[in-house]
């Protein structure tokens, strides 16, 4: 009887623990989301009043009322397009090689480990690499091209890992079916593996791009220029990008520039959001097509 009572009491405590911790875990999960909401509200409250047509179509200025982010906006577009052009083919080529061609030998393992480690290298180190390799050794100067090549090297590991996962998810049965019909390896890759894996590869690439676009650190190491009163017209022109422009505005003591920074952040977030939307739309469209 006494033992039974002790058990009952213990059970009550355990049940109480169980339910209170369940609330605690939920609360902890919501902290992150809550922080995100506060961040967005804070940025919009500070910046929305400064976001107008004049802000988007003006060059940087010493007076906050006249300043805009035209050059940074086009700089970001330039870098984004070039980086995508470079990194997509190389990234998908690497993933195909590792998943479909490479025999399971030391070279393959070396490349794989290497890619995993490159994904963890801090972005500022890529900036130092770009400065030494592209700006100085290859004499590209502090140009759009040097920036895009640096961001390419930085985003490649992410793209490769995403593409590998997408390729791995293609069913073996499809591959064997194609081989049984007499297809060569490349035919299998081009006709079976790539079309099926494309949605995953594309969304992985776009996510990597949106990360690269938001990065300021590597570009600061390459070109810290902010007072740029022209839009780059060739890959060898000097440039600045949105995150650097924002960084420059945040670093000023005057309150006016903080509002500019917030307005700039809204523009940057809209760019990133539309890229992610494109990724989702592309993925859904291709998914439907391959299911048919």
């Amino acid at each position: 009887m006494k033992k039974d009572l002790a058990f009952q009491r213990r059970l009550k405590i355990r049940q109480l623990q169980g339910s209170s911790f369940s609330a605690l875990f939920l609360a902890a999960t919501l902290v992150g989301i809550f922080a995100l909401v506060i961040l967005l509200v804070d940025v919009f409250r500070d910046g929305i009043g400064w976001l107008d047509w004049q802000f988007i179509t003006s060059y940087p200025s010493r007076k906050p009322e006249e300043a805009g982010l035209l050059s940074a906006f086009f700089g970001t577009l330039w870098v984004m397009v070039l980086t995508a052009l470079f990194s997509f083919p190389v990234g998908i080529g690497t993933a195909i090689y590792l998943e479909e061609y490479a025999p399971d030998n030391r070279l393959r393992r070396l490349i794989q480990t290497n890619i995993n480690n490159l994904a963890g290298v801090p972005s500022i180190v890529y900036g130092l690499l770009g400065l030494s390799l592209f700006v100085q050794a290859l004499a590209l100067g502090r140009s759009v091209l040097a920036g895009a090549l640096t961001l390419t090297l930085m985003s490649l590991p992410v793209i490769i890992i995403a593409a590998q996962e997408a390729i791995r998810s293609v069913s073996e049965a499809h591959r064997f079916g194609a081989y049984a019909l007499g297809s060569s390896r490349w035919q299998v890759v081009r006709r079976i593996v790539l079309p099926t894996a494309l949605p995953g590869v594309l969304s992985g690439t776009i996510l990597a791009m949106s990360r690269a676009i938001g990065e300021a650190a590597p570009i600061i190491a390459i070109s810290a220029l902010v007072y740029l009163t022209f839009i780059p017209s060739s890959p060898l022109d000097r440039f600045t990008v949105l995150p650097i422009q924002i960084f420059n505005w945040v670093s000023r003591p005057q309150e006016g520039f903080w509002h500019l920074a917030a307005a700039g952040i809204i523009v940057l977030l809209v760019v990133l959001l539309s890229m992610n939307a494109v990724a989702i739309i592309l993925r859904n469209r291709y998914q439907k097509r391959t299911e048919e």
Partner: protein
Amino acid sequence: MLSRHQNPPKTTVGKSLPSLRRVRKQNPLGERAIQRLLLTCALVSVFTTISIVIMLVAQAAGFFSEVSILEFFTGTKWTPLFQPQHFGVLPLVGGTLLTASIAILVALPLGLASAIYLSEYAKDKVRRVVKPLLEILVGVPTVVYGYFALTFVTPVLRNIFPNMIVFNALSAGLVMGVMIIPMVSSLSEDAMIAVPRSLRDAAYGLGANRLEVATRVVMPAAVSGIVAACILALSRAIGETMIVAIAAGSTPKLTLNPLESIQTMTAYIVQISLGETPHGTTEYYTIYAVGLLLFVMTLLMNLFSQWFVRRYREKY
């Protein structure tokens, strides 16, 4: 190419043969060229690593020919930009570890709790909404976090700690912690979900409740993945640049007080990149010495987490 096989040409067998033979003859060459091309793509990443190492070592050698390695690693003053110059990297390392530790103190409990909630408690519907929402946090550009830390978190904290400096390690670390929550939670959750159902069922069958199953069965079984997640998150916090460059200050100082202004290794590299330090001087080469140290630190942590997963993974 498959379609050609599916629809044989409507000619006689004899006539279609030559074209087939031509395909067979051409293919091996084309196949080999494609394979070479793909291998070249794969080697780009190897080339990247080699150039990072060569670049950092070669440029840092320029620095270490002027400053002794001993001074670099044991000196407690970092004043390369003014006289008298001191090149002790410890204050930068200390600042980096201070902000990264604050970040981990935030991200570890919150990330682990989220992972437990998502893998053990949440219904599938909730999970599908909450997980992507959490993962938005890693996608937000770091300048945005820097802005948030400086213009929102710091003023709020200054109400609590009136003697806090505007640029301080605490707000930068706290915001960085929020940023890496999803890194801890996603990877830990993956490890927890991989724990087989039968283990949970056995514990439930013995009368355990959800909390007991989560903390005494699932977490111990997933410990290798959880530790790896934390190390990766820490390594990310150490390499994080913009938040600390904006909000943590630029005064290299060896301190444990999070209310003070400090400087991290990454923020120092940004400061020099922005300034007018002439190319080729010792001051200029400092960024490569600091960069090399940063690279080695994060690399070791990444390698360690990979080794740890391999060594301690529970296999079912």
